[in-house]
């Protein structure tokens, strides 16, 4: 049954008229044309589809769109502001923490969620917080380095 569902996507209110049982991933990619969020497995195993819902990292392939009505969703497209990249994005570039780039949006969103929950994580915490995100190109070590650098940058900003 189609229904109208509204939520905030990247700081803007959107409404879609879809079957409430569609996955959030499908709705974001197909109906809202935000293709930065990727499909890697559709089973919650890889993390390529990770987005933030009310500041928590979630697997959008495992979320029904009807469950996000009224919530705030952030995808990779909503991360930079006023044309300038987010510190995590900058730091992924500086560390070249990517190769094919297919896992990258999910990695960055998961990292952002992690840093919102814990602005100063140890290396071990980063590893355990990122553990369920897969990168076949093998960028793991660089991603951890990038997250550490980004954390430092973000904390600087907060202190100012």
């Amino acid at each position: 049954m189609k229904q109208s569902i509204s939520f905030k996507l990247n700081h803007e209110l959107v409404s879609v008229n879809v079957n409430g049982e569609e996955s959030l991933l499908t709705v974001i990619r197909t109906y809202l044309d935000k293709t930065g969020t990727k499909y890697g497995c559709g089973l919650g195993d890889c993390g390529a589809c990770t987005i933030l819902i009310d500041n928590k990292p979630q697997r959008s392939c495992m979320i029904l769109v009807e469950d996000v009505a009224g919530k705030e969703i952030l995808t990779i497209e909503g991360l930079s502001s006023n044309g300038s990249l987010h510190p995590i994005q900058k730091s992924f570039i500086a560390h070249d923490a990517l190769q094919c780039g297919f896992c990258t949006p999910g990695m960055i969103m998961n990292a952002y969620g992690l840093l919102i929950g814990d602005p100063n994580p140890t290396r071990e915490k980063i590893i355990s917080g990122m553990e369920e995100n897969l990168c076949r190109c093998g960028s793991y070590n660089r991603i951890v380095d990038a997250i550490q650098t980004a954390a430092k940058e973000m904390n600087k900003k907060i202190k100012l």
């Binding site: 089973l43 297919f102 093998g138």
Partner: protein, 711 residues
């Protein structure tokens, strides 16, 4: 792999004519300086994989210095994460004397780019670099000629810095490439060997450059073939059997009436459902009942090795020297062992996908393909269309590793688009990926070694089942040796194909495990034993560099072990030393540290080479420790990342990459080589840590515990 036959090809074939259709095409291009370059012989390559294309080669690379001063570089190669977008831009910028950031890479578009047989085999740097450098050097010469005319001076009086030509003794007289190019259109074919820069004059080659496409990838703007959306496009789901190789007998699509707006596509064995909403297409496809005739299972992941042994009789000698019997006679110790390696998936995070449409009689497609030109040819053949009527467009690829040389999804998408007369997107599910991937083949390697009382290898017998001979040319000096290959591509229960450094992972694991076992039997240290028996100096130097960097003599912590493996791939020599910790009660292996030394020849982008090496090692940990396709005949038991484990954050060790300084030589392959040594180094480190010799990959806790029990 066959392309290795052309390792000697450098600048010999520069005079092949440009055929007329390309000439027409060049007419259509806008203004600027266009340099085309052909190396005819490349087209004669019998390509590996399914491209049997003898496409009339016209030219292999070209570039265009545009009127705004930016440079377009056209190449048939694709970017799948291996970083050639960056390294090719570097070589071009070097010879042309422009900034690397002023280059736009146009890749893998079959209408814009010169023919290319495919991106695989770590060939891009080795064979595209010289071509691009030559074309860029030629363009620079033309621009200097134009400037000389402009200022009324001779060429020798001029110098170029960053896209601006100066009069040497009067730098106030200068003109940019953009200004020189304005209003002109010069098409130049290369007919002579151009003057290339000497390595000592390099400003950009050999310097680390961060991936030029990184920003597009961290912002989500990089487009992959499943990200294309076309007006009126439908999403397709193919109805699949449970068992690979099943034949369709009967289709019952009566339940489709429950869904509004779905359409059934039936074309031979291909049955699919399309809808504007991918999830509805999916659900509806689940309701289509097909009766399949399933092939009988002949082997599973446990019995496969016996099966291969029994069913492959034909063999060919790959290398042979001396006399095996004499080798046995002079050996004091003979060691015999068999090594096993299961099937592996490519498991790119992007599944195979394609988006396409027919307009009039022309097909346009974006596909996750390592072989856009091969795909074009397959499509043209499928629909009996001329090649020009199929257009593959440039697109990013979310990992390939050899798995995207094959393009079943492209054919399926196009058939569905044709049948439904709509633009179509087909993105394989992870489960489809785990069935229609062309898996790395299982392999069995029977090995015998003999060593005399001085610790010198005297005998080597190496019988390879299915893994091929890539990288198996002996670099140990063993007077009596024979390497044979036993192969039959049709013996496997599902599709198999090239997987990052094909076969070389399995054979290197076998050789290096066996060398270590032999060293152990003689009581000689594994490093010393290798250095004593190596005949290849490059390899010795590479091993020494690895050992120094690693600190081979360092005292080991309790439960830790060190392991060495050496290998050769795509012209690059590799030495890896791994440190692991093994928990003797659970058999769990924790990789601690990996040092990788390589002689890769000239390093175009040392930073990129490092990325590729780290990536290869990390991916390699998967095949060494976790990955194994479980199956029973064509029924796949491994269907997703829950039951097919790949390397993760927590099992990635500290990785250090060191390179032999070799800037004066030719560049060699970089995307594949490092991965080949991971299995052997890990298995040897596990043995060193706990005494468990596991001859079968992956080296799982269960196999370690079993080896410990049986001593």
């Amino acid at each position: 792999m066959k392309p290795d036959k052309i390792t000697e090809l450098h600048f010999d074939h520069v005079d092949k004519p440009i055929s007329s259709d390309r000439r027409n095409f060049l007419k259509k291009l806008g203004g600027g300086i266009i340099v085309v370059f052909s190396i005819g012989e490349l087209s004669l390559l019998k390509s590996w994989g399914q491209n049997t294309s003898e496409d009339l080669l016209n030219f292999n690379a070209y570039l265009r210095v545009k009127e705004d001063g930016r440079v377009d570089c056209y190449t048939g190669k694709i970017e799948m994460g291996q970083g050639v977008t960056t390294s090719l831009a570097q070589v071009l910028a070097e010879e042309l004397e422009v900034s690397v950031y002023s280059i736009d890479m146009i890749m893998g578009d079959t209408e814009l780019c010169p023919y290319d047989a495919g991106t695989w085999g770590s060939l891009t740097t080795r064979f595209t670099d010289p071509v691009l450098r030559a074309a860029a050097a030629e363009a620079r010469e033309i621009l200097i000629d134009l400037a000389a005319e402009h200022f009324g001076v001779s060429d020798e009086m001029l110098d170029v810095i960053n896209g601006t030509v100066f009069v040497k003794n009067d730098p106030s007289k200068n003109i940019t490439y953009a200004a020189l190019t304005k209003g002109k259109k010069i098409v130049q074919t290369l007919t002579k060997k151009p003057e290339l820069k000497k390595p000592k004059d390099f400003k950009i080659i050999g310097k680390p450059v961060i991936s030029l496409d990184a920003e597009a990838k961290v912002t989500g703007t990089a487009k992959y073939s499943g990200d294309i959306k076309l007006p009126g496009m439908v999403y397709a789901t193919v109805v699949r059997p449970k068992v690979f190789g099943s034949k369709k007998l009967q289709v019952d699509s009566s339940k489709l009436s429950e869904f509004e707006g779905v359409e059934l596509v039936e074309d031979g064995n291909l049955v699919a459902v399309v809808h504007q909403d991918p999830e509805i297409a999916n659900k509806a496809a689940n309701k289509v009942k097909i009766t399949w005739e399933e092939p009988v299972a002949k082997a599973d992941n446990e019995t496969i090795f016996q099966f291969l042994d029994k069913n492959i009789k034909e063999n060919k000698v790959f290398e042979e020297e001396g006399n095996l019997k004499a080798g046995r006679d002079v050996s004091e110790t003979l060691i015999e062992a068999n090594y096993f390696d299961g099937y592996k998936a490519h498991a790119s995070i992007e599944t195979h996908s394609a988006t396409c449409y027919f307009q009039d009689d022309k097909l346009t497609m974006w596909a996750s393909s390592q072989t856009p030109f091969g795909t074009r040819e397959q499509l043209a053949k499928t629909f009996d269309m001329p090649l020009e009527k199929v257009h593959l467009k440039q697109i990013f690829i979310g990992g390939g590793f050899g798995g995207k040389i094959y393009n079943q999804q492209a054919i399926e998408a196009a058939k569905i688009a044709k049948f439904s007369s709509k633009p179509v997107q087909l993105v394989w599910s992870r489960r489809e990926e785990f069935m229609y991937d062309r898996f790395r083949t299982a392999a069995l390697i029977k090995t015998v070694s003999g060593v005399d009382s001085n610790g010198k290898l005297k005998l080597w017998e190496f019988d390879i089942y299915c893994a091929g001979t890539r990288g198996t040319k002996l670099f140990y000096g063993i007077p009596n040796n024979r390497t044979r290959i036993f192969n039959d591509d049709n013996v496997h229960p599902f599709g198999t194909g090239a997987w990052r450094a094909p076969g070389n992972n399995s054979t290197t694991f076998a050789r290096e495990s066996h060398i270590e076992t032999t060293a152990f039997a003689t009581g000689i240290d594994a490093l010393e034993f290798r250095l004593d028996n190596l005949k290849n100096e490059n390899m010795s130097a590479t091993l020494k560099l690895a050992a120094e960097t690693f600190g081979w003599e360092r005292k080991k912590q309790e439960g830790h072990g060190y392991g060495i493996a050496l290998g050769e791939d795509a012209g690059t020599t590799v030495a890896i030393i791994a440190e692991v910790h093994v928990d003797r009660t659970t058999g769990k292996v924790q990789p601690i540290r990996v040092v990788c030394a390589q002689d890769m020849g000239q390093l175009v982008n040392p930073h990129g080479a490092k990325l590729q090496t780290e990536g290869g090692i990390t991916m390699g940990l998967g095949y060494a420790l976790y990955e194994d396709i479980a199956f029973n005949g064509g029924r796949m038991e491994s269907r997703n990342f829950k039951n097919y484990e790949i390397a993760r954050f927590s099992n990635t060790p500290k990785i250090e990459c060191v390179f032999i300084d070799n800037m004066d030589s030719k560049p060699q392959g970089g995307g594949e080589p490092a991965i080949i040594c991971v299995g052997g180094a890990i298995a040897n480190a596990v043995f060193d840590a706990c005494g468990a010799r596991v001859n079968r990959m992956p080296v799982t806790p269960q196999r370690i515990l079993e080896a410990l029990r049986h001593g």
